[in-house]
């Protein structure tokens, strides 16, 4: 056989993503064969023949089980199978299925010459030579399988121009093999066959050696310039100054979190009403849509874990807002929502929105003035000179902390919150009346429970009335082919839309005009109230970049952007509609050699 083994340099070794795994496998294989407690390999009697150089599958699994102290024999068996599939050992008889059975089935070790770590990449010519050689030999013992015959025929056509060379090589190898002793011949033949079984598996069998894209690492720069050193030092200085939390504290925080959420983790606790994937009942999803009139108990409890958790849940926000309205302190929440929302706005709308938020919440005499300390106010004033999504970061953090220390704490201790918990959906003693009450949330205070309908956790819901009455929110989903509940997806986008509308309402009230006329009304407001605002901000025209150039961008180290593709709206000629696209079978990626 032509020597195709590639000796790998360090770099190449890296490009072979499995090199670590192969090293570990080879270590095991060597131990198996040469260590003190090696697997007994010898000539085994099989029916009427003698099989040289073989060992039993059972012995292999035993050895792995003992050596690696696996928890179960199953894991040792899995590893044995892996070794087989990568070609380090093979079954003597049935080569089609590379499976290691935990019994007396015989196996043989592959010779190191054929190990996958040698980075074999045999091509069609090699395969053709191998198959041709087999056709020259005893048909009974070496005849081609059906799939091999098919491949052989194809290769003959494909490589017709080289066939003389191929045949010559095959004959040469055949001659060489005749000179070997019989026992050796059997072993060598089986090893070569096993090699090809792994490289060119029969149809329907997995090819273990398939790899993904080739990867690269940049070799460490030998020459360091003054500049790179300075940059490195800057980074290291920042890193050195950073306070580091003790691992005991870090571990504690992770432990606490896991513990807190344990009962909310469906993999660990039964979460009511039931797991839809198991019970075929979608009540869980219906109850947990972003906006719901009667949130579940677990959900309400989560709001108590932290203010962050509450603010992640649109229902939580809605309930919290109701509470704050009573105390007339809802501007903090509205401000926080506006600041969050601006982070997800299209870039073109950001500048205007910054102005609007400032006017509504921060300008002196603003209609929904929030209280920030002097320093934060100064920082914000400065930041407004260059408006972007994060202009209000400092102010937002400040308000968040205020809410966290003050109103959030009070909400958690409030009657409103406690009532919510009591009347939540899916409690062990859920009251049927409460559960089906989609009326105004204010009715939560009414105390009369209806008599004893007890819903057991995790039970299947067979009562037909429950399915009809599940809280539907009258939001029509977009039409699609899904039979699933797309409402919740729609509501996720509703979440921000809701706050947008709120913010818009607030801003509209204040400016007395609609948002598109914001600039002029803001100006007029300024002049009338005599507010001192920093210099007029030029509106950055970010939408019109026809040539895809990076003009006016604040990006760092912009990657080279080739001329933009025509905007999809106009030039889209092939909408991705067709569900009846002819399928591609047996696709091979460019990085996998055929």
């Amino acid at each position: 056989m032509r020597n195709l083994a590639v000796i790998m340099a360090d770099n190449d070794a890296h490009q072979h993503p499995r090199h670590m795994m192969y090293a570990k496998m080879e270590n095991l294989i060597r131990c198996m064969q040469f260590s003190e407690n090696a697997i007994p390999v010898r000539s085994q009697k099989l029916f009427l023949t003698t099989v040289p150089d073989a060992f039993a599958g059972q012995d292999l699994i035993d050895w792995l089980y003992t050596k690696l102290q696996t928890e179960e024999r199953l894991h040792a068996s899995h590893l044995a199978n892996l070794l087989c599939q990568y070609g380090y050992l093979f079954p003597v008889s049935d080569q089609k299925n590379l499976v290691v059975k935990d019994d007396n089935t015989l196996f043989r070790f592959q010779t190191p010459y054929f190990w996958p770590s040698n980075n074999w990449k045999p091509d069609h010519v090699d395969y053709a030579i191998y198959l041709a050689k087999r056709t020259l030999r005893n048909k009974q013992r070496h005849g081609l399988e059906d799939f091999e015959q098919v491949a052989f025929n194809k290769l003959q056509k494909m490589l017709a121009h080289k066939w003389d060379f191929i045949f010559m090589q095959a004959e040469e190898q055949f001659k060489q093999s005749k000179e070997r002793k019989k026992a050796d011949k059997i072993i060598v033949d089986s090893q070569e066959k096993a090699f090809w079984r792994v490289q060119r598996p029969p149809p329907g069998q997995t090819r273990c050696l398939d790899e993904a894209v080739t990867r690269h690492i940049k070799p460490t720069l030998k020459k360091k310039t003054v500049e790179t050193c300075q940059r490195e030092i800057a980074f290291l200085q920042r890193s050195q100054k950073r306070p580091r939390l003790k691992i005991s504290k870090a571990a504690e925080s992770i432990l606490l979190f896991s513990e807190q959420y344990y009962s909310h983790d469906p993999f660990l606790s039964a979460v009511p009403p039931s797991n839809p994937w198991l019970s075929d009942d979608t009540l869980w999803w219906e109850l947990n849509t972003p906006l719901v009139d009667t949130p579940s108990e677990l959900r309400i409890r989560r709001w108590g874990f932290s203010l962050e958790e509450l603010l992640k849940d649109p229902t939580g926000i809605a309930e919290f807002e109701e509470f704050l309205k009573k105390e007339f302190s809802q501007e903090n929440l509205h401000f926080w929502l506006a600041c969050e929302e601006i982070k997800y706005l299209p870039k073109s709308l950001v500048t205007e929105r910054v102005q609007a938020i400032y006017s509504a919440f921060l300008a002196p005499g603003a209609p929904h003035e929030v209280n920030v300390d002097g320093k934060t106010y100064e920082l914000t004033q400065k930041a407004i000179e260059n408006p972007d999504r994060f202009t209000f970061d400092a102010a937002q953090s400040h308000i968040f902390l205020l809410m966290k220390k003050d109103s959030y704490q009070r909400y958690m201790r409030s009657e409103d919150y406690r009532n919510l918990l009591e009347t939540a959906a899916l409690q062990p003693n859920a009251r049927k009346g409460r559960f089906f009450n989609f009326g105004s949330t204010k009715s939560k205070k009414s105390p009369q429970p209806s008599p004893g309908y007890v819903r057991r956790r995790g039970s299947e819901i067979s009562d037909s009335s429950t399915s009809d009455a599940a809280p539907v929110l009258g939001v029509k989903g977009h039409h699609s082919y899904s039979t699933g509940n797309l409402q919740s997806l729609h509501q996720a986008s509703l979440r921000w839309k809701l706050s947008t509308e709120k913010v818009n309402t607030l801003l509209r009230l204040e400016a007395g005009g609609d948002l598109s006329k914001k600039r002029s009304s803001v100006d007029s407001k300024r002049t009338t109230s005599g507010t001192v605002l920093p210099k007029r901000i030029e509106k950055l025209d970010l939408c019109n970049s026809p040539s895809g150039g990076g003009g006016g961008q604040t990006s760092k180290d912009t990657l080279e952007v080739p001329s933009a593709h025509g905007s999809s709206e106009e030039s889209e000629e092939n909408p991705c509609m067709a569900l009846a696209v002819p399928s591609k079978m047996n696709v091979v990626a460019p990085w996998e050699t055929a």
């Binding site: 499995r18 496998m25 997995t206 050193c229 580091r244 691992i247 997800y344 569900l579 696709v587």
Partner: protein, 340 residues
């Protein structure tokens, strides 16, 4: 002494100081701290759904935020949006380039993105007025393959690439807003923090980096792995993250302690990890392996709690739903399985 020499010495000194600072913070180990925690016991999951339809290796999948729909990308050149619950195919999107390596579902559910060897991140709108699915934006700019992409919202997406950089894009304008350069190897995976202000990336240089989405700076670098990092994911509280690597280990890094605090490996696990995900409480760490299995680790006690066996080829991608109800695995055997 030349300026270069001086700078080098200064750098060395700083590195030593940092190493000492990290050691000082290392007053215990996660395993020790969790010694008294109740073991989770045996985690046995079964396949609840098998999604058949792809005709070639599946390279990536991503759940939608409704915990029911998911998108998967396969070498057969298709992106399929499934309703996991009914196993219906909601959309089957033929791609311009079939060498796709990653896909993502926007949090709003209105868009999906994908990319691969074409170096381009393509954004598809699922909710067009006409009712069909089409490309709304193509984001060229990377000079290497696209290995991972994640939406911040309908307007912004972060991508990682084989050109050793990550990038933040403004989808509306199609511009690359920020580039995150610093890795010295192909960046294979990224994960957005729960608050989306930062993200972590894992690369072939065996390091993970924490980036600030706002200013493009790398705030921290985490080393420890011995080979390519293939997968990375944040712990649900946002203060730690887990990585999976070709060195057959998963590791937990704490951001505030600035170092590795846990490792998940066993002598009999020798195959690389392709994908990782946490359960809702973070107590379980699931990893998809090259050896066709998915292992479930107890994050705190660092032992293996269970195995998901059922695929006939490498598990290439894995994801836990947002509500924590199920985990989906995608494999080179062309099937997706949903387990719990």
């Amino acid at each position: 002494m030349s300026e270069l020499e001086q700078l080098r010495q200064e750098a060395e000194q700083l590195k030593n100081q940092i190493r000492d600072a990290r050691k000082n913070a290392c007053d215990t180990s996660l395993a020790q701290a969790a010694a008294n925690v109740e073991p989770v016991g045996r985690i046995q999951m079964r396949t609840r759904r098998t999604l058949r339809g792809h005709l070639a290796k599946i390279y990536a999948m991503h759940w939608a935020t409704d915990s029911r729909n998911l998108v998967s990308a396969s070498q057969d050149g298709k992106l399929i949006v499934w309703d996991g619950y009914t196993t219906n195919k909601v959309h089957a999107i033929p791609l311009r380039s079939s060498w796709v390596m990653t896909c993502a579902y926007a949090p709003s559910g209105s868009f999906v993105a994908c990319g691969g060897l074409d170096n381009i991140c393509s954004i598809y709108s699922l909710k067009t007025r006409e009712g069909n699915v089409r490309v709304t934006r193509e984001l060229p700019g990377h000079t290497g393959y696209l290995s991972c992409c994640r939406f911040i919202d309908d307007n912004q997406i972060v991508t990682s690439s084989g050109d050793m950089t990550c990038a933040l894009w403004d989808i509306e304008t199609g511009q690359n807003t920020t580039t995150f350069a610093g890795h010295t190897g192909d960046v294979m995976s990224l994960s957005l923090a729960p608050d989306m202000r930062t993200f972590v990336s894992g690369a072939c240089d065996a390091s993970a980096k924490l980036w600030d989405t706002r200013d493009g700076m790398c705030h921290q670098t985490f080393t420890g792995h011995e080979s390519d990092i293939n997968a990375i994911t944040y712990f649900p509280n946002g203060y730690a993250f887990a990585t999976g690597s070709d060195d057959a280990t998963c590791r937990l890094f704490d951001i505030r302690a600035d170092q590795e605090i846990g490792m998940y490996s066993h002598d009999n696990i020798i195959c690389g990890i392709t994908s990782v995900a946490f359960s809702k409480s973070g107590r379980l760490l699931l990893g998809g392996y090259d050896d066709f299995n998915c292992n479930v680790w107890d994050t705190l006690r660092q032992d293996r709690a269970g195995v998901l066996a059922g695929h006939d080829n490498r598990v290439s991608c894995l994801g836990v739903t947002e509500d924590g109800m199920a985990v989906a695995t995608g494999s080179w055997d062309s099937f997706l399985k949903i387990w719990n």
